[in-house]
Symmetry: C2
Amino acid sequence: MRPTLAFDADDTLWHNETHYAETQEAFRALLRPFHDDAWIDARLHDTEMRNLGSYGYGIKGFTLSMIETALELTENRLDGAGLRQVLDLGKAMLDKPVEALPGTDEVLAELARTYDLMVITKGDLFDQETKLAKSGLGNHFSKVEIVSEKDEATYAAILQRHGLRPADFTMVGNSVKSDILPVLALGAQAVHIPYHLTWAHEVVASPVESPYPVLDSIRDLPALLASW
Amino acid sequence: MRPTLAFDADDTLWHNETHYAETQEAFRALLRPFHDDAWIDARLHDTEMRNLGSYGYGIKGFTLSMIETALELTENRLDGAGLRQVLDLGKAMLDKPVEALPGTDEVLAELARTYDLMVITKGDLFDQETKLAKSGLGNHFSKVEIVSEKDEATYAAILQRHGLRPADFTMVGNSVKSDILPVLALGAQAVHIPYHLTWAHEVVASPVESPYPVLDSIRDLPALLASW
């Protein structure tokens, strides 16, 4: 059996957090007459965390949290036109083209010769399927797993479902919390490729000396794997 | 290999459309000062259909469509408190307990002795996982497929992924469009158990004489299957 190489999607295969950052800047601009930036950011983050149990991850839940935060921060004084703008910010995110990170297409084509390639991504099923289709990268992958949470139990279930041993499974992603630590805990391999932005919810303290490989770009992945 | 019996979830295993109907009545009540019921319903349905390509199926998309419709129908005059009510209607739907249809638990327990039981449901990944967990029925199923659309291609992919032949696969559900016709088209079996409400988007013309079995209740399913 060929070994499996699994990739996170958002901010590993394509740009994602930049869209959230741009949207959040537009949201701040809308509420700047009412509050300062730091307060707006903090309240939006609180709303997102409070709603995570009801909405899960993804753009639709983020949009609903922006609307809720806007109403809260303006004590319901933001008018209909302003709320319409928030709604449109969310739609614009959903309708944005998906921009693959540099080198992704070539590197996946090369690695597909040696590995079974899998996508393991967290979030909204419909969003993620749409993004994979729009990215043009879908044909490189033989398996796609869209999950609601990326913890040790999720990865264990995926390995079991596909009959994979930890020794034959390597995960590649930008989030230490979601892509690296739970995979290492199962005795499988993980490679960290940081993205220049990290969502506050995903930030964990970095170990002084990293016990897993950290790469600057997906372009460095084939050489690393060849050295194993 | 044991034959597979797959079930739709919303309105087949548990009540769902009733929650949408109740929510829609509350939404109408909110907008009644501005428009009559038929017009409100028609505009909400239009908004949902227009947004299906961006939002997909599920409560979060429905909530965003209610907000959009409310702004449209009031020309942005619905105030913040009113919009907050719409947001809360959506949250109340998400937080509602999941009420299994009568007989479901016993019938599934009985059928699990002979069949591999599967759930195949359309909608939001996070919502559907949450509902399955809340329903208390999850332990009867060996496989769960949450998909963004239920058409022939989706069912063909599921059969292939699990190595199932159409002859060994039977789908049970309340939607002729999503649960019955695409399954019959693949040469597999399907059983229709109508729910007393059907979402307008799922309505198709009923054939004069049904070419598939139609049951009043899941309680009649074991006897039907035993007769095959």
